[in-house]
Symmetry: C2
Subunit: 104 residues, 2 copies
């Protein structure tokens, strides 16, 4: 039996809250990293900010409904809620992850 951290149900996810969560550059970077590695903890993510800051960002992402987090000992591996988001906002996350950098 797995233990999970608190997160909004599918019906509770608000698009404005999700947009606010994804608007921060560091959080968008975290989302892109999780897209590549599928699952990661705060310390395993290679980011140019302190771990306490990463923890804060991951919490924001979880409360908004973007990621879900398991409890595994002292570690808290998180992953994208791909299926949930696709069901709630079809095309939203996938278009963001597929977005190419601007040419200018």
């Amino acid at each position: 039996m797995q233990t999970w951290m608190g997160q909004p149900d599918l019906d509770e996810i608000d698009v404005a809250t999700v947009l606010q969560a994804l608007a921060d550059p560091m959080r968008l970077r975290i989302v892109r990293l999780l897209d590549q590695v599928e699952e990661s903890t705060c310390t395993a993510l290679d980011l140019p900010v302190k771990v306490s800051t990463v923890s804060h960002h991951v919490n924001v992402l979880r409360h908004s409904g973007v990621v879900s987090t398991r409890i595994e000992g002292t570690a808290r591996p998180s992953r994208l809620r791909r299926d949930d988001l696709e069901r709630r906002f079809p095309g939203l996350l996938s278009s963001i992850l597929a977005a190419t950098p601007p040419k200018a």
Copy 2:
């Protein structure tokens, strides 16, 4: 011949910038209004903030690539860049506009 206000080309639109623009509640409200009325000026939008603030928000939306603005006398009617955004980030804007409010 129409005159337009400056806006980024299709290839220059950055998804992070768009997300930052859409993250603000008032701007998201403006986007939803423009989705309904197709085109509107700052003063015609019924919003609980001063017109100078609305003007500021519309400028942010235009610089990010979300809306385009015509110059028509002293008026600056704006509309969503639906087709451009759909081409650049397929499904992004449409999923946001189609999003239902959370049940909780």
